[in-house]
């Protein structure tokens, strides 16, 4: 098992020594930022939005982005 965990473990422990707080927070927030970029860039054809764009409150993609923004806020606050 050490062959798996040691290299990664050493890396993370080094990161911890140099302030894992900001690193962890940046990683989690980065994941949600990447998710927002992915959601925003999905082609409309894939979501069946080709004929007419739905109203904002009925737009599932917009709601998903809002939820992801809320997650960024939570990890900023408590991360």
């Amino acid at each position: 098992m050490t062959m798996f965990s040691e290299p990664l473990g050493t890396l993370w422990l080094l990161a911890a020594a140099s302030g894992a707080g900001w690193m962890g927070k940046a990683a989690f927030i980065g994941v949600f930022v990447a998710l927002i970029v992915l959601l925003a860039s999905l082609p409309a054809r894939m979501l069946g939005e080709t004929e007419c764009r739905p109203a904002l409150w009925r737009n599932v993609r917009a709601w998903a982005i809002l939820v992801a923004v809320a997650q960024i806020f939570i990890y900023t606050l408590w991360g």
Binding site: M1, A20, A64
Partner: protein, 512 residues
Amino acid sequence: MSTIRLSAVDIALVVGYLVGITILGVWLGREIRGGRDFFLAGKSLPWWAAGMSLVVSDIGAKDMIGLAGDGYRYGIVMMNFDFIGCIFPVLIAAFLFMPYFWLAGVYTVPEYLGRRYNLGVRTFFAVIWVLFMMGTLGTIFVSAAAMFEGLLGWSFWFSVMLTAVIVGLCTALGGLRAVVFTESISCIVLTAGAALICGLGLAKVDGWAHLQETIGQMTWTQHHLTLLPPADHPVYPWPAVLLGLGFVLGPAYWIGNQAIVQRTLGTRTQNEARASYVFCAAIKLVFPILLVVPGLVGVALLGPELGQPGKDWDGNRVLPMLVVRLLPPGVLGVVMGAFFAGVISNLDSYVSSASTMVVTDLYRTFIRRQAADRECLLVGRWLVVAFLVGGVAISYPIKKGFGSVFEAFQTFLSFFQGPLLALLLLGMLTRHATPWGGVAGMIIGVSTSAVLNSAELLLGVPGGIPFLWTAWWSFVAALAGVVVVSAFTSGHDEARLRGLVCWLPAEGGNKP
């Protein structure tokens, strides 16, 4: 621990709730004509009902009790199970995976794997899921019994039998439609109950700021108030939370768990399937706070009595003790209703899904290929009863063997979730994954899980390996197995893969 006496109002609320959902479940079952109605609710579910049902299929009594106990032990890091471990994968699944399950018209996740890879992969995961669900049923019964024993002084067997009978009536007669609509009601009751415990708990400790101050003064709670503990945390190091939970266990659970996916497959349109997942994610922004904060309140209120958690410390006592001390008569009925709601919604999800998988992936595949729809309906109903009986039977040994119910649940999960996710990801995202690649990935991934789960015994790693790391490495091993073996074996032709791989839409295009 002292038990409570319910007032007449409390009893009326609980009995009213139980009778109400049983009648609703039976009533909704009157329109069931065949297997499609029973297993997929005739593809008639609205997004809001499926979304609320998704929430309570995931959060039940095991989470209410387990998360409060683990919140006491580890702090707000436990919220990650619903944040990075749920919201992130749910949003990914809503847009990249669910539409393809829905369009493929499958009843189960193993059925998809069978079409994408081969019968061996399908059968393996169907059998594993059924076994897992049996184990889960046992853990849910244990959670329920612990709750009712602590609160009401009911015996273990009385609690188990009562819940089994209610779930049996609703699910065997009403099918998925009854499950989803009764779970929608359960979601409202569960939210109200959890909010009451959380709100009254915070009021008792003079608010969040005072609670933070109290916890900050203790010596053993230094990481209780951060979502991201340091990288050398013994159980939840943040890199493992991100990689193991966020990238493997969470996605595998929300993309590959039949009990979850089945609700979405029963929605009216592809867009409603997507909306149900996003609605679930929105509700999940609040739920973990309502479930974990009571654990922190427990640290402040019960700390001198329960002490610092050690090896044999029982986290399942925290929530019942808080309920007994915090809630006045009249409010207790709502909270007890919430506990019943959590238990029942969890149980009906798992028995319904296990029954669907046995009929679709085993009975119709190996025993009666030409089985008529009515026959499948009948077999499905009897299987619901059989699974409940099995769950009741194994609940007692589970009670004796596992300290923390929630941990037991996660251990079950981590064993094969990584390999399942690897097969689903590669199967859906690339046409190059071959049937033999799937078989190899499955074997390598599950073997890796088995070895890492037994690391203390087999490899001499003191204390074993955190289950989140096990999940991550079994996923990586399975991924590597599929890629390497697929490079040397031939896959299905393009016609067969249409509608199963996201870059190959079904003939006529992917219409919502």
